[in-house]
Symmetry: C2
Subunit: 329 residues, 2 copies
């Protein structure tokens, strides 16, 4: 009875409800196997004296960002930021009009840009993400987040976060889990807004990074972003990033693509209770539908492994009542 009450209290805290009755901590999730697997996991992890109890210090939960906590179509939002930066900086770089991949970006020819492959993308990222101090870059990101709009939804990108995942993060935090983002995206692109949007502070964001260099400029200490990749937090890099930043094996990991496979395997490899989840994008009407053949967020091997190992696979269309917070009445 006592254990049940504690869990109920945590659920109340998760939803911020002041009602005395126990409320649904995941109101945007339809009843189904995915929702039940989450509630079962949290109940087991927090039942003191139970076989699956997880000590508070071990309650580490990691979430991919692109396609797991917010949308990633038609292009990664960080790449939309980079393209907007190329346009904003073009007047300072007249040579870009004649030079690829900038020429295609400025002409709005995305097909030509994508034809340039990863090399072209990296060049765009380097030109827009380096050469300034980390604080100057953070300001640029903040300004973009405040003004840019998604082409399909015509809303700020940070409104295109998944309401059901916000509820899951809240439920975990109310039950003393520490929640981390572990993303292939740039760490300095995410940190300026993750606290406001997810309640996840900068130091709980793990991501890809470039080299930064310490300098004294007129006696003032600054860190300058250099055009050199330091760490790619994707695929096998995700367990490496988790070890580097968090130092413990997570008990819960949630992703949506093959880039999350090793992170899920790493969470699965620990002793005791585990939760591995994948978001499957099945809702072309409310969001996007893509998996095995997608250029962005390809879900193929990780899906097969999830099915084989009975990890939780969320079917967005079937499992989520609401996708985005703004859909709620």
């Amino acid at each position: 009875m006592f254990r049940r009450s504690l869990f109920g209290l945590a659920l109340l805290a998760a939803t911020g409800s002041s009602a005395l009755a126990q409320v649904d901590p995941l109101p945007s999730w339809n009843d189904g196997a995915a929702k039940r697997s989450i509630l079962d996991f949290v109940m087991r992890a927090t039942t003191a004296g139970g076989a699956d109890f997880v000590p508070v210090l071990e309650r580490i939960a990691v979430f991919d960002n692109d396609g797991t906590l917010w949308s990633e179509q038609p292009i990664y939002f960080q790449f939309a930021f980079a393209i907007d930066r190329v346009k904003a900086l073009a007047s300072q770089h007249p040579e870009w009009k004649e030079r690829e991949p900038f020429k295609s970006v400025l002409a709005g020819d995305m097909a030509a840009l994508f034809a340039g492959g990863e090399k072209a993308m990296l060049e765009i990222i380097m030109a827009t993400h380096t050469g300034m101090t980390v604080e100057e870059f953070a300001k640029t990101v903040e300004d973009w987040v405040a003004t840019a709009r998604h082409p399909r939804f015509n809303r700020p990108y940070t409104e295109l976060v998944y309401q059901p995942m916000l509820e899951l993060i809240g439920l975990l935090r109310a039950n003393q889990f520490k929640t981390f983002i572990v993303s292939g995206g740039g760490i300095e692109f995410m940190r300026p807004w993750t606290e406001k949007v997810y309640g996840i502070p900068p130091e709980q964001v793990v991501g890809s990074s470039g080299v930064v260099k310490y300098e004294l400029r007129d006696g003032k200490s600054v860190l300058v972003k250099e055009p050199k990749v330091e760490f790619i937090d994707d695929g096998p890099g995700k367990p490496v990033g988790i070890n580097r930043f968090i130092g413990r094996r997570p008990v819960l990991a949630f992703g949506n693509s093959d880039g999350d496979l090793q992170m899920l395997q790493y969470a699965a490899g620990g002793a005791g209770l585990r939760f591995m989840g994948l978001v499957h994008h099945t809702d072309a009407e409310r969001e996007f539908a893509y998996d095995r053949q997608s250029r962005v967020g390809k879900l193929d091997k990780a899906w097969d492994e999830a099915l084989q190992r009975k990890w939780t696979v969320v079917d967005m269309k079937a499992d989520w009542k609401v996708i985005y917070p703004f859909e709620r009445k």
Copy 2:
């Protein structure tokens, strides 16, 4: 009055006292400029509406470890660990008897070892810190911490932490500061015990690191420590490490040697209220006395800059009533 009460409550929380009267949150600090500068900083930072108020999210405090939170003489404790590991592993490496620097270590000839310089030290570190999984390594550290004894004090190394600094960390945490270690020492050497000893969890420990590699071994996911340096969190590396792991400029930084200078400069370079502190080892009787000429923990340039910029310099002999927790009655 209200503000004062809040501060008082935080002080009570810091010391864990149940008394209703306000108690001294730093009982092991003698009254003096250092203690007053700390209390003044915390009061200003937490006074809502005051000119120096620091929002909770910005309350980032960073501490060097060796010589700032625990002793570092006669050799860095991590190096004592490495030497003990060489001895423990010697039977599996018969070739070490004839090969430097292992030969000197096994013969107990520290002078010969130090004559080998950084190259010899790095070789010892690599031989004892790599080739196993991160979890196997953590277990080795835990076992060593539980059994090894400091040659002078004949106590576990983790008892040689500074009681006044534990009180400072507690005071900061009670006032909603997030406390981090930022050490030149190995991140995986510290993380197994910092939670127990300082109340600082693994993910709030920043340090030097080696490359780790993700592998599946018989289907089980592991991270293997490779003999390659990844990051040296010392000198100009400290602001870089702070940016990478924490993502914000600290408002408080405490160190004790020239390796901490750039971290202190970086904290000093932010806007608003700041606190920069140095521990000066002046007590040969109770601990150790060393500064400008020391091989370990050299304090020279950072001391000059601290004096010039009026940072707080703690004189261990004069400012600390007690050095180690075990001295308390």
